[in-house]
Amino acid sequence: MGSVMQVVFDAASLGSLYALGALGIALIFGVMRLVNFAHGDVIAACVFVLLWPSVDAVAIVFAGNLPWFLLVPFVLAMGAALSVASEVVVFRRFRNANPATMMIASFALGFVIRYFLLMLYSSRPKSISLLPTLSQPVEIMGARIPLLQVITIVVTIGVLFGLTSFLRRTRFGLEMRAAAENFTMARVLGVRANRVIMGAFALSGALAAAIALILGSQTGTANIVMGANVMLMAFIATVIGGMGSLAGAVIAGFLLGAIAVVMQVILPPDARAFRDAFVYGAVILVLIFRPQGLLTARGTKERV
């Protein structure tokens, strides 16, 4: 029982990360058909804002010393700000470009962010003790798991609820959902394109920051490539979930997390190294049988 619970928690916490990432990508895809490859680098940047720029091996902690009730909003705000800045400076000029062009532009932007961080902070991972109290283990239903894992799951569920009620209950959320489904029609009804897109970027950036906080506390390091892996999985989750479908992205994120964890558990030791090959094989299978994704966003038209 305990060990089954343990696996469930492992899957849920890894899935949470992917789900949050997928949500960040799906939000932006929904409103402007942009597959934002810079998302992973925004995640990394959110961790680095806690440190003072220096190429020394020892990190000079800067904002990371704030108490948690200031630190969390600070990081979320930085993520949102960076993401909105990327829309204003770069993506706004690509509104009418084809998806491939936007995708490469976002990749180029990510490249710029990554090398900028590299120049400021060097490639050596910096250690930060982020929210250290979260590293203690707790016991739940016979499973002894790190507090952070519980918090990750709780935070993700909280974020999902918060986001859902934001999207359901506020006018801005309504406009965003309408825009995600049919952007042109929303504009014809007077919905301001720039505001909605900036809102989507702000939310997506804040989600990136949330991932950054979780990853930062979990790994204790700031590392310029730390967002890349989550981003790739999130990207896949977004597609499997049905591009543009927020609920689909979340479900697929959890699904991917579960597949990865279960593979790690059931594969024999010799095959475990090939875990990713099995995971990606599963991805191809899902796509073959449901190319439009698990949940298709109605009215989502895409041509790549």
């Binding site: 006018r171 504009r187 014809v188 009215g299």
Partner: protein
């Protein structure tokens, strides 16, 4: 005093010219049908007026504003509401949400909430079926219900001009009758100006009002719908014999 005026309007998609040098004016309170065969450029015209497709040349004025190439949301704020072809409801949103999207632009105004609620009641009064299914996802509605929904949705923005693309498309004739009946009633009640695109001129002749006949991106005829009736020029326009 004209509410809408088009001059020399040209619309292109890449190398294809969809609308060529079209000009007409529309007075406040008027009802205008634009008819013509497939590919005549009717929908393109509507999309240009709503700001969805910026024209390649020419000029559009609405209520003394030059709206050529302006963003759709700005044009909507001036009082143009377009109902596109194929209806395009927000399928995953409920009926009530669909209706509410368009009130957002008045949100800055004092007493918006109250007025939005009143407007909602008014729409429900016109289309009782919408009220009945107000929390249903719009994607689950039948074609006729969706058509009522998008007309209601357009009305919620409190427009001066409603431009509707093929309201009868895919609907059973008796449903189309219902839709038109409500439209005409609304026009009288709200002093709306109506711009309706239909492929067939039958409906225009039944309802009456002004009619413009387009073909190949150009205006062929402009006049009273009933008077145009069975004229030979109309036959020519539809079946492609005669000049051109």
């Amino acid at each position: 005093m004209s509410l809408l005026s088009l001059s020399n309007l040209t619309i292109r998609y890449g190398r294809l010219t969809a609308v060529r040098n079209v000009a007409f004016t529309l007075a406040e309170g008027e009802i205008l049908f634009i008819t013509g065969p497939n590919g005549a450029g009717k929908s393109s015209l509507l999309r240009a007026i709503a700001g969805v497709t910026p024209p390649a040349g020419g000029r559009i004025d609405f209520a003394d504003h030059d709206i050529t190439g302006r963003a759709p949301e700005d044009i909507a704020r001036l009082g143009v509401s377009m109902v596109p072809e194929g209806r395009e409801v927000f399928g995953s949103l409920t009926i009530e949400e669909n209706l509410t999207v368009g009130t957002g632009m008045h949100a800055g105004e004092h007493g918006w909430r109250g007025r939005a609620a009143d407007a909602l009641e008014e729409i429900y009064a016109t289309f009782p079926i919408l009220k009945e299914r107000r929390h249903t996802q719009a994607g689950l509605l039948s074609g006729g219900q969706q058509q009522m929904l998008v007309i209601g949705r357009a009305l919620m923005t409190n427009p001066r001009l409603i431009a509707i693309d093929e309201p009868s498309l895919g609907l059973a004739p008796n449903i189309t009758d219902q839709v038109y009946e409500r439209l005409i009633a609304l026009r009288a009640h709200r002093k709306l100006t109506l711009l309706i695109v239909e492929q067939s001129s039958t409906r225009a002749m039944m309802v009456g009002g002004r009619m413009i006949l387009m073909r190949g991106g150009e205006v062929l005829l402009d006049g009273d719908a009933r008077a145009m009736g069975q004229s030979e020029a109309m036959q020519a326009a539809y079946f492609g014999y005669g000049d051109h």
